[in-house]
């Protein structure tokens, strides 16, 4: 199972960004073989899972067809601070809804308010739980 090593400076920075960043790039692959990056809100579980809530859109169909995904953060604009996680994603109906996911609601409290008014409204729109399992880390 994938696990970050906090004694490694790079991996400690990855853990820090997974904890603090508001958005990350989730890339799925379309039926036509075209990679489709989208910027998403996410919640890291501290281990090998990243929870995402999606509207019923193309990335959900892509994940159903092809579980291979990547997740990357913005870099420093000059090619540094590169963090790329690769792994697999599933539509996970056993996940709590966004409204029932307390750490998620806490992380995105202001965003949820501006997008949907309240967590219940947000959870109705972003009703598809996607869970990525990290298998590999690249970067520097």
């Amino acid at each position: 199972m994938f696990k970050l090593d906090p004694s490694n400076a790079f991996q400690a920075r990855v853990a820090d960004r997974l904890t603090k960043e508001i958005v990350g790039w989730l890339t799925t692959v379309g039926a036509d073989g075209i990679p489709q990056p989208s910027l998403v809100w996410f919640l890291w579980d501290g281990g090998d899972k990243i929870q995402i809530y999606s509207q019923d859109n193309q990335k959900v169909r892509n994940v159903n067809r092809n579980a291979g995904v990547s997740f990357n953060f913005d870099g420093d604009g000059k090619g540094g601070d590169m963090i790329v996680l690769t792994g697999t994603a599933v539509i996970d109906s056993s996940s709590p809804s966004a409204a029932e996911n307390a750490p998620y609601v806490e992380k995105y409290a202001s965003g949820i308010k501006s997008v949907s008014g309240d967590p219940t409204g947000f959870a109705a729109a972003y009703r598809i739980p996607i869970v990525m399992t990290i298998t590999r880390l690249r970067g520097h």
């Binding site: 508001i22 990679p35 291979g68 790329v84």
Partner: protein, 142 residues
């Protein structure tokens, strides 16, 4: 039909500016087993629908492109994720372009990064011998 940016759109005018001035884009290829692989790369826009990228020949992205030439190119997001731009289209390994140290504009664009890294376009040309040419087909973003 050749892809053309419409600079009367505020979004596309911003993308036009990023294509001219940003040093880095993320090139995402797909491996033969269906795994997307993003990498940050230096690039040169031709002012029309092509983005030129130089790479080392043994990189996974080159193998991926040989199997599947469909790729995405995106910029870092701006303003805490409120501005994004993503191109999709085909990319090809090309021998119709000059080496990186002879491509007009490249050494000037990356002058300060070359200095910072203690290298130059001539040294880069010795290692980054594979030329990738991306053709814009679609642009998403806001």
């Amino acid at each position: 039909m050749v892809f053309t940016l419409d600079r009367s759109s505020a979004f596309q005018a911003r993308v036009y500016d990023q294509l001219q001035h940003d040093p880095i884009v993320w090139l995402t290829t797909v491996s033969p087993n269906g795994q997307p692989q993003p990498s940050p790369v230096w690039f040169m826009w031709d002012g029309a629908d092509k983005i030129i990228i130089y790479t080392k020949p043994d990189r996974p992205k080159v193998r991926n492109i040989k199997a599947n030439p469909k790729v995405a190119i995106h910029f870092d997001s701006l303003a805490r994720g409120e501005m994004i731009a993503i191109f999709t289209g085909p990319i090809e390994i090309s021998d119709h372009y000059p080496a990186v140290n002879e491509l007009p504009g490249y050494a000037e664009k990356y002058h300060s990064l070359f200095v910072q890294l203690g290298t130059d376009a001539d040294q880069m040309a010795a290692e980054y011998t594979t030329t990738l040419v991306f053709t814009m087909e679609a642009l998403r973003g806001y």
